[in-house]
C-alpha cells in the first residue's frame, strides 16, 4: 500500500489547466503496482456527491501523508472536498474521544489560485496574503492530530504559461518522491492533537 494519499478535487476538470495536468501526471503512477502514491479524484468518484465514507476512511488509514490538491474557490476548498471533510472526518474517528485514526499523519495542501501573487497582498484586490486563508486548514489538521505542512501554491493559474505549469507539476512530483526528507520538515514542531473541551458538542446517543 502506498503511504501517500492524494485527494484531487476540481469541479470542472474539462476547463482546468493546472489540475488536468496534475491528474495526467499523477494518475498513471497511482495505478501501478508498488506506486509511491494513490490518487483519488473525488469529483470523478462522487459526481452525485454521495460519498462512500467507509471507503474513504479505509483509504486514509494506510496513508502517512495526505495531500489535498484543489483550486482555491472563494478563498477556500471546493464544495465536494468540504463535504468529504464533513462526512469522512467523523467524531470518534478523526477527533473527539477515541478519534485518533489520523493522528501523526501529515496533511499537505497543494493549491492553485486564479489571482496573481501580487493580488494576494494588502494593496492587491484580494487584500490578504495567501497565508491568511490557511488557518481553518491548520486547525482542521490540528483537531485531527495531523501535522500541517507548508502549502504549495501556484498563483495566476488562468494565465500561467505551459512551462510554468510543467515546472509546478515536476516540482510536486519531486517533493512527493522525497517526502518526508524535506528541509523544512526538520524545522517543524512535532504535532500535538488539539482537544475540544467536554460538553462542547453532544455525544452520540444524547437526544
Amino acid at each position: 500500500m502506498p503511504d501517500i494519499l492524494l485527494l484531487l478535487a476540481h469541479p470542472d476538470l474539462q476547463h482546468s489547466r493546472v489540475h488536468a495536468a496534475l491528474r495526467a501526471a499523477l494518475q498513471p503512477e497511482s495505478a501501478r503496482a508498488g506506486a509511491r502514491w494513490a490518487l483519488r479524484d473525488l469529483y470523478a468518484l462522487y459526481p452525485d456527491y454521495v460519498i462512500d465514507v467507509a471507503a474513504e476512511q479505509a483509504a486514509l488509514l494506510p496513508a502517512r501523508l495526505v495531500v489535498w490538491l484543489h483550486p482555491v474557490h472563494w478563498y477556500g476548498m471546493p464544495p465536494l472536498l468540504k463535504l468529504w471533510l464533513d462526512e469522512v472526518f467523523t467524531y470518534g474517528w478523526a477527533y473527539g474521544p477515541g478519534g485518533d485514526r489520523l493522528a501523526g499523519k501529515d496533511l499537505w495542501l497543494v493549491a492553485s489560485t486564479g489571482g496573481t501573487e501580487r493580488s494576494y497582498r494588502p494593496d492587491g484586490h484580494n487584500r490578504f496574503f495567501i497565508d491568511a486563508f490557511w488557518p481553518p486548514y491548520e486547525q482542521t489538521a490540528s483537531l485531527a492530530g495531523m501535522r500541517f505542512l507548508p502549502p504549495m501554491v501556484l498563483h495566476g493559474a488562468h494565465h500561467a504559461a505551459r512551462q510554468e505549469i510543467d515546472e509546478f507539476v515536476d516540482m510536486l512530483i519531486d517533493r512527493l518522491r522525497n517526502w518526508p526528507d524535506w528541509p523544512e520538515i526538520a524545522d517543524l514542531m512535532p504535532c500535538i492533537q488539539g482537544v475540544a473541551p467536554e460538553g462542547e458538542r453532544p455525544a452520540p446517543g444524547d437526544t
Binding site: D86, F89, Y91, A196, P204
Partner: protein, 612 residues
C-alpha cells in the same frame, strides 16, 4: 409403458429437438413446431395416428393465449379500439371473403362450397399472428394493434359463420331453424352478460379469497380453472371459447392479480400453443396434396394473393406506417385455426364432402407453414426496399450517415429520454426501433433512424455498430434485450454497453454478461417518489435525499453480492418465486440498516464536522 406416456414422450422430444433447431436456423419457433408435427405425424414417422384429437385438445392453447391478450387490454383501451376492430376487421373479413367467393364462382365452383371455402379461408391464424407479435415484441406497434383488431373481429365473426354453415346445408329449411337460432342467440347473449357481470362482481373477490390461502399452486389451479370454466360455458352455448377467455381476460386486466395470472398461465399457454402447431403440422394430409399437387399450389397461392391484396389496401388506408406494412400483411394473409373448425362443421353438415374438406385443411395448413418463411423473406426484401427508398429520398444529405458514436436500440419511453439528453447536449445518435411510430418521432431530432429488429446482425452493421463507441440497450423486452447484448459482445467487442434492466433478475443476467453500466428502469424514479413521501412525513428534504441515496447504494451493493450465487440454479427457480424472495431479503436487510443508523440519525450533527 402406458399409451399417454409414450405420446408425451413423442411430443416433448419432437418439440425439444425441432424448436431449437429451427430457431438456430433463424426460422422462429412456430416453424419448428410445425416441422416437429410433420415429422411425427401420419405422413412422417407415423408415431401419432390421430392428429384431430390432439388438435382439439391443443386448441386450448389458443384459448389461453387470448385470455392473456385480454389481460393486457384494459376495457378502456378495448373500447377505444372498437373502430379498428369492427371497422377494419369487417373490411378484412368481408373483403377477403367476397374476393375469394367471386374468384371461386368465376372458376365454376358450386356457390355453397364457394361460400364456405371463402369464409373459412378469409380467417387468419390468431395463433400465428399473436405468437409472432409476441416473439418479435411487436404488440405495441401500429401493425401489431391492427393484427390484434382483425384477429378479434374474426373471433367474434366465427360465431355467426358457424351458425350459418348448417343453414347452407338445409337450404330451404329456414322455418325449422328460425326458432332455435333465435333462442340460441338469446342464450349466447345471456352467457356473455353473465361473464361480464360475473367478471366485474365475482372474480376479484374470489381471486382475493384464493390468494389469501397462500398456496401458490392453488392460485395457478384457480387461474386454469377460470379459463377452462369460461371456455366450457362458451362452448355449451356454441360460442367461441377463445372469445370468452378474451372477455374474461379484459375484465381482469385492471385487477391486482393481472401479473400473477400472467406468470402462472404463461408456461401452459406456450406449451399448449406449441402442441397446437404440432397438431397442425400433423394434420396436413399429404395424400390429398399428392393427389392434386397443382390444384393445391394454385389454391394456396391464389388465396394468399387475394387476401394480401385486401390487406395491402387496408394497410394503405388505415394507415399503417410504411415500414410495418409487410408484417401486417404477412401475419394476416394465411388461413387459420378457425378455418379448420369451419370446414369441420361444413363436413358434418354435409355442405362439403370429406375429400374437399381435407384438401381445404391442407391448403390452410400449408399457408400456415408458409407464414414464417414469408415473414423472413419479406423482412429481407422489404427492409432492402425501404433502405433503397430512403436513400433515394434523402439523396440531398449524404453527410457520412452512420458515423454517430452512439447507437440507441429501443426508442420507447426509456430510450427517448437517453436520446433527448444526448440531443440537448449537442450529441448525435443512431436509433434502432421496431416500431415505426417511435421511429417517426425521432425524425424531429434529424438523426439516422433504422426500423427493424435490433437483434439482427445485418441491421446492427448497417447502423454502424462496428464504428460506434457506445450501444444503449433500451429495449424493454428482456429476451430481446439480452439477445442484443450477446450479439454485441460477440461481434462488436469495442462497444461499451449501457443497458436498461427491467428488474433485479434482468440486472443480474446483464451483470453476468459482463455489462457494467446497468440501470434498473424504475429504481431512480421510485426513489424520488420515496423521497417525496419522506418529505411529506416531515423529514427534512436533504435528510430524505441522504436516506434515499443510502438505500440506493445498499440496493446496488446487494445485487452485486447476490449476483454470483444466482448462476444456473437460479433458472430452475420460477421467476416469480425468486423475485419474491429477493424482495423479502432486501427489505429485511434494509430494516437492519435502518436500525443501525437510527441511533446516529437521532443525533442531528452525527457524522458532521465539529461545531465551531
Amino acid at each position: 409403458m402406458s399409451n399417454w406416456l409414450v405420446l408425451t414422450l413423442v411430443y416433448l422430444a419432437a418439440a425439444v429437438i425441432a424448436v431449437p433447431l429451427a430457431r438456430f436456423a433463424g426460422l422462429g419457433s412456430i416453424i419448428g413446431y410445425l416441422m416437429a408435427g410433420i415429422a411425427i405425424g401420419p405422413f412422417g414417422l407415423e408415431l401419432v395416428s390421430d392428429p384431430q384429437a390432439m388438435l382439439h385438445f391443443a386448441e386450448f392453447g389458443v384459448v389461453l393465449m387470448l385470455f392473456l391478450v385480454g389481460l393486457e387490454l384494459e376495457p378502456r383501451r378495448l373500447w377505444a379500439m372498437r373502430h379498428p376492430i369492427f371497422g377494419w376487421g369487417s373490411v378484412q373479413l368481408l373483403g377477403s371473403a367476397a374476393l375469394l367467393l367471386a374468384a371461386a364462382l368465376l372458376a365454376g365452383v358450386p356457390w355453397r362450397l364457394a361460400l364456405v371455402a371463402a369464409l373459412g379461408l378469409a380467417m387468419s391464424s390468431t395463433a400465428i399472428g399473436l405468437a409472432v407479435l409476441n416473439e418479435r415484441n411487436l404488440g405495441g406497434t401500429t401493425a401489431g394493434q391492427g393484427v390484434l383488431s382483425v384477429a378479434l373481429l374474426q373471433d367474434i365473426a366465427a360465431i355467426p359463420i358457424l351458425a350459418l354453415v348448417p343453414l347452407l346445408a338445409l337450404g330451404g329449411g329456414y322455418d325449422d331453424t328460425s326458432d332455435p337460432i333465435w333462442k340460441e342467440a338469446l342464450r349466447a347473449l345471456g352467457v356473455i352478460a353473465a361473464i361480464v357481470l360475473g367478471g366485474r362482481l365475482l372474480l376479484r373477490p374470489m381471486l382475493r379469497w384464493i390468494a389469501r390461502s397462500r398456496t401458490p399452486e392453488i392460485f395457478t389451479a384457480a387461474a386454469l380453472l377460470l379459463v377452462v370454466a369460461i371456455a366450457a360455458l362458451m362452448q355449451s352455448v356454441g360460442l367461441s371459447m377463445a372469445l370468452g377467455a378474451f372477455l374474461a381476460g379484459v375484465l381482469l386486466a385492471e385487477s391486482e392479480y393481472r401479473r400473477e395470472l400472467e406468470t402462472d398461465l404463461e408456461p401452459f399457454k406456450g406449451l399448449l400453443l406449441g402442441l397446437f402447431f404440432i397438431a397442425v403440422g400433423m394434420s396436413i394430409d399429404f395424400h390429398a396434396v399428392m393427389r392434386h399437387p397443382g390444384l393445391i399450389v394454385g389454391l394456396v397461392a391464389g388465396f394468399l394473393l387475394a387476401k394480401a391484396l385486401v390487406l395491402w389496401a387496408m394497410a394503405r388506408a388505415m394507415p399503417i406506417p410504411l415500414a410495418e406494412r409487410s408484417v401486417f400483411v404477412v401475419l394476416l394473409m394465411q388461413g387459420g385455426e378457425f378455418g379448420f373448425v369451419v370446414f369441420q362443421a361444413a363436413t358434418q353438415a354435409r355442405v362439403i364432402d370429406g375429400d374437399t374438406a381435407s384438401l381445404l385443411v391442407a391448403v390452410v395448413a400449408l399457408s400456415m407453414l408458409l407464414t414464417p418463411l414469408l415473414l423472413l423473406a419479406s423482412d429481407r426484401w422489404w427492409a432492402a426496399h425501404l433502405q433503397a427508398h430512403r436513400q433515394e429520398s434523402a439523396q440531398h444529405r449524404i453527410d457520412s450517415p452512420q458515423s454517430a458514436p452512439v447507437i440507441i436500440a429501443g426508442f420507447g419511453r426509456y430510450g427517448q429520454i437517453v436520446g433527448r439528453l444526448l440531443f440537448a447536449s449537442g450529441m448525435s445518435a443512431t436509433v434502432l426501433d421496431h416500431s415505426a411510430d417511435q421511429v417517426e418521432a425521432t425524425r424531429r431530432f434529424g438523426w439516422q433512424v433504422y426500423y427493424g429488429d435490433a437483434t439482427r446482425l445485418d441491421l446492427l452493421r448497417v447502423a454502424g455498430a462496428a464504428q460506434a463507441k457506445v450501444l444503449v440497450v433500451a429495449i424493454d423486452d428482456v429476451e430481446q434485450n439480452l439477445a442484443l447484448v450477446d450479439l454485441a459482445r460477440e461481434h462488436f467487442p469495442q462497444l461499451a454497453i449501457v443497458a436498461r434492466a427491467r428488474n433485479a433478475q434482468h440486472w443480474t443476467q446483464l451483470h453476468q454478461r459482463g455489462v457494467s453500466f446497468i440501470e434498473r428502469e424504475t429504481l431512480d424514479s421510485a426513489l424520488m417518489s420515496g423521497r417525496s413521501v419522506l418529505e411529506l412525513l416531515g423529514i427534512e428534504p436533504h435528510r430524505a435525499r441522504t436516506l434515499a441515496q443510502r438505500f440506493r447504494r445498499h440496493s446496488v451493493q446487494q445485487l452485486l453480492e447476490m449476483a454470483p450465487h444466482l448462476g444456473d440454479e437460479k433458472r430452475l427457480i420460477s421467476m416469480s418465486k425468486a423475485g419474491r424472495e429477493q424482495l423479502e431479503q432486501l427489505l429485511a436487510q434494509e430494516r437492519e440498516l435502518a436500525e443501525r443508523t437510527r441511533g446516529r440519525s437521532d443525533d442531528p450533527s452525527a457524522g458532521k464536522a465539529p461545531t465551531a
